[in-house]
């Protein structure tokens, strides 16, 4: 009987999880930054200092002040308000694109692991070759055919996430399938679907949670890049990537305009990455010791 340990077999509810979590430096800093991102998006739903859609040419390119914390852009719009509302676009793209990647990818990974044989081979070769299309290439193809827009950007980033989730799910699910308790469940007459749902999925959930935070960060970066190119969020909806492309044209007159949106993206991504690193350590202490 193969008793080799799975890459991750601990459930998120390990004892003392939250007590250890607040003491973990990466997780704590990442958690605060991620909460700030979520809070910014939530607050923008009910309040922004100014309307992010209100064009006021008389107040254009103002430096930071008490009334405009981060100044105003080339159209006189309040940069702080644009940043707050822009957080919504990042979160929306992250949630849906990672949701697509997770649902389709994890389902394919679990199927490959449960069926093995030619099904596994076919799924893995499919993921191999979808790696030939980085998110930006898929987005370009979709945009060229259907036009620029947030939906196409989300689909492209979602498709890009599928192979990663499929590979990780399959690798860790294979390790669970070789465990004794799975053999016991089989002996009790449970079928592949029941074993997958009751034993495999709960035991790989920790690994998937870590991967979700990391892929979320990558989705935010991809959305920003696509919106910067004009292939993502469309006007007048504010987005950090498009704010940067607009700011670039004003680089000589108002250099600060190019700083704030980039800082917002970097802090959001840094927060999610740190949280992912922290979660990995917290959910699998063996990895933390090895590092």
């Amino acid at each position: 009987m193969n008793t080799q340990a799975a890459p991750i077999a601990l459930a998120p509810q390990a004892p003392g999880f939250w007590r250890r979590a607040v003491r973990h430096r990466s997780f704590a800093i990442g958690g605060v930054l991620t909460l700030a991102l979520l809070l910014a998006a939530a607050v923008s739903l009910v309040w922004t200092p100014w309307s992010p859609y209100n064009v006021n040419m008389a107040a254009r390119l103002q430096p930071p002040s008490a009334s405009h914390w981060f100044g105003t852009d080339a159209y006189g719009r309040d940069v702080a308000s644009l940043l707050l509302v822009g957080a919504r676009a990042s979160i929306m793209v992250g949630v849906i694109a990672v949701g697509i990647g997770l649902t389709v990818g994890a389902a394919l990974g679990l199927l490959a692991s449960a069926r093995r044989g030619w099904v596994e081979e076919a799924i893995m070769r499919l993921t191999d070759f979808s790696l030939a299309f980085p998110a930006i290439l898929s987005a370009i193809m979709l945009t060229a055919v259907f036009g620029a827009g947030i939906v196409n950007a989300i689909i492209a980033i979602g498709i890009y996430n599928i192979p990663t989730f499929a590979r990780i799910t399959r690798a860790s699910a294979n390790a669970i399938w070789s465990r004794e308790y799975v053999a016991a469940a089989r002996a009790c007459g449970k079928g592949p679907l029941a074993i997958t749902l009751q034993h495999v999925l709960p035991n790989i959930s920790a690994l998937l949670i870590v991967q979700i935070t990391i892929r979320f960060a990558i989705a935010i970066l991809a959305e920003a890049a696509l919106s910067y190119l004009g292939l993502g969020t469309q006007p007048p909806q504010p987005s950090w990537g498009r704010m940067l492309s607009e700011a670039q044209t004003m680089m000589f007159q108002a250099p600060l305009l190019s700083v704030f949106p980039g800082l917002a993206i970097a802090l959001a991504v840094l927060g999610l990455n740190l949280m992912g690193d922290g979660l990995r350590d917290l959910l699998d202490p063996r990895l933390a010791r090895a590092r």
Binding site: A132, P134, A217, A224, Y228, L270
Partner: protein, 316 residues
């Protein structure tokens, strides 16, 4: 090794065929009538019909795919609708910028990552290590196009050492050309270097625990010599795999960075082709970039097998 090469080469061919089928399906079948997309929604039905016949879009899909795929093999990529020139000429001209840019970015990535990764590992858990790894964590979070804008702000707007963008070609000499590509290459390299530095550090730390390292030290070889020759050479095996994947990321990243610096490369050609609704150029450029990604991954796998003889045909 021979069997490994044959199996890997067959996988490469299958992947390339699969990639071309996906590109063809998305760019030729999904739009319904590509002639309508090329001419725009306001085009008259007669004009659409004429272009449909001219582009051969009225022929069966399988025949069109075969015509396109066989054309790719002999370098006949068709005619650009917007530029009225052969697509192969457009792409060849643009690759003269994109390939050197990606190679320069990869060189910057490797130098930065090895320096940072090995230095951090040598100071494991000390201030230097923590500082460098924190810096790497920040590097991973920075969008490359924002870093590009920051570099322009500092070196072009403030210090005026470099131009804010553009490329005058290689006519003024290699030095001038490389100077125009240095900021774009750096902005592409920083993120990838941050990722690679973390991998290098882990790999070096792993090898440093091996017995042969202790033996080398016991024989009187200096710490520096052990680190940069014995340890690094062995640590490079996993690092090379990551490098290969990163080269693919760099190729895709050129699309964004070429637009930040207004560089006339393949990325900017694709972007302009989307604006011109020039589906033929988009299709061929996307296929070329995807093929480059697949071929780079193939080369990395082969290199991996050459460096690490433990890789067997059964591993693929």
């Amino acid at each position: 090794m021979g069997l490994f090469l044959v199996k890997r080469f067959l996988t490469l061919l299958a992947t390339l065929v699969g990639t071309s089928v996906v590109v063809f399906l998305v760019m030729e079948i999904l739009p319904g009538n590509a002639a309508q997309v090329l001419l725009g929604p306001d085009a008259s039905p007669q004009a659409v019909q004429a272009l449909t016949i001219k582009l051969g879009l009225n022929q069966p899909a399988l025949e069109r795919y075969w015509h396109w795929a066989s054309g790719l093999l002999v370098g006949n990529l068709g005619q650009s609708y917007a530029y009225s020139t052969p697509v192969i000429d457009l792409i060849r001209e643009r690759l003269a910028l994109t390939v050197p840019l990606a190679v320069l970015a990869m060189a910057c990535t490797i130098v930065l990552a090895l320096l940072v990764g090995v230095t951090a590992a040598a100071r494991h858990n000390k201030m230097g290590d923590v500082g460098l790894m924190s810096l790497a964590q920040v590097g991973i979070a920075i969008p490359n196009f924002w870093f590009a804008i920051l570099l322009i702000l500092l070196f072009s707007v403030k210090l005026q050492w470099f131009s804010a963008g553009g490329f005058d070609g290689w006519g003024d000499g290699v030095f001038e050309g490389l100077k125009s590509l240095l900021l774009p290459a750096l902005s592409l390299a920083v993120v990838q270097a941050a990722i690679l530095a973390r991998f290098t550090r882990s790999a070096v730390l792993e090898v440093m625990r091996e017995d042969f390292v202790r033996t080398a030290r016991a024989k009187g070889v200096s710490q520096r010599a052990v680190l940069w020759t014995h340890v690094l050479r062995n640590a490079l095996i996993p690092v090379i795999t990551v490098m290969g994947m990163q080269f693919s990321e760099l190729l895709a990243g050129t699309i964004v960075v070429e637009n930040v610096f207004y560089l006339p490369g393949l990325g900017r050609l694709i972007f302009q082709a989307i604006g011109n609704r020039d589906l033929i150029v988009v299709r061929d450029s996307v296929m070329l970039l995807a093929a480059m990604v697949v071929i780079v991954n193939f080369i990395v796998d082969i290199l991996y097998a050459v460096i690490d003889p433990r890789v067997k045909a059964s591993d693929i």
